[in-house]
Symmetry: C2
Subunit: 141 residues, 2 copies
DNA sequence: CCTAAAAAGACATTTTATATCTTTTTAGGG
DNA sequence: CCCTAAAAAGATATAAAATGTCTTTTTAGG
């Protein structure tokens, strides 16, 4: 239960890798994929989602590639995960209580809200910058 | 992401209902299923799992049915959820780090451990007794 | 124009979720 | 000793989600 999908795992790997590069450095998707050991075509889909919401910037054509959209210290793990997995929802009634006719007087309902808050809290408290190690900071791609 | 399945939702509904009955009262599966609005055949599978680990006691044949295996204040939501959904695992490396060759120096790994701890903590802190309302306590089935 | 690279969309396969149905076992009561 | 009620066990079915791949299109530099 509550398992991150491969997509989410790959998403984190890819963007953390990018966060270790100089902010203005454009990296090839193929290079990123090889470095983090993810199928390139799958990572492409993931980075397309990132690009749409500005988490990364993309450049097409010759000399194109990806760079981080914002400084690594301003991007949280929560953003990254939710970008590809959708919102953190421990139970469907958390997002739309009206879906369950029992939600009115349900005692379990608030528990899922708390789970949601705790998980979001943990993930929101971690930035990409904090996830970088010495060895991966500012290496070229 | 992190969504409880129907099975887990149904499991909670069913056992909370049972927890509201007198401890020695045997309830028919069909009655429970009807009361909590769950497909009877599906709930049967769920209660079979409960029965195997003693969360509920089952009685076969005429006059058979189910009753709670232990007092409601001693059964946590974590037990119930894990009984049918398996352990709370935000990412597979939490359970077997050796599956991921990056786990050695991975900075993300500990985050998933924290997520796991937080979620388990919330669910472990809630007992079936606490989930009962006035109206459902000690009603006959 | 030609080439490199990402974007977009269609397609394929596997796994998981969500059940249902049938047969078997167990137990009580006449 | 049957007959019936009820759970247990196992097989099967369908739908949805996960996990990729492939093809075509768009964009941009040289
Ligand atoms: S019964 Fe309660 S916990 Fe379950 S879906 Fe409805 S509101 Fe949510
Ligand atoms: S890269 Fe890190 S977080 Fe991802 S599976 Fe491996 S150890 Fe876990």
């Amino acid at each position: 239960m509550m398992e991150l999908t491969r997509k989410g795992e790959y998403a984190i790997r890819g963007i953390v890798y990018l966060a270790g590069k100089p902010i203005d450095k454009v990296c090839l998707l193929s290079d990123i994929a090889a470095a983090v050991n993810v199928p390139p075509t799958f990572l492409a889909k993931i980075f397309q989602q990132f690009s749409k919401i500005g988490l990364v910037k993309s450049f097409r054509g010759t000399g194109g590639g990806f760079m981080l959209g914002r400084p690594p210290e301003s991007i949280t793990l929560l953003e990254v995960v939710e970008a590809v997995e959708g919102p953190i929802i421990p139970n469907r009634c958390v997002v739309s209580p009206s879906d369950c006719e029992r939600s009115g007087e349900c005692t379990v309902h608030p528990v899922w809200r708390r789970v949601q808050d705790e998980v979001r809290g943990v993930l929101e408290g971690v930035t990409l910058k904090e996830l970088l190690t010495e060895t991966q900071t500012h290496t070229t791609c």
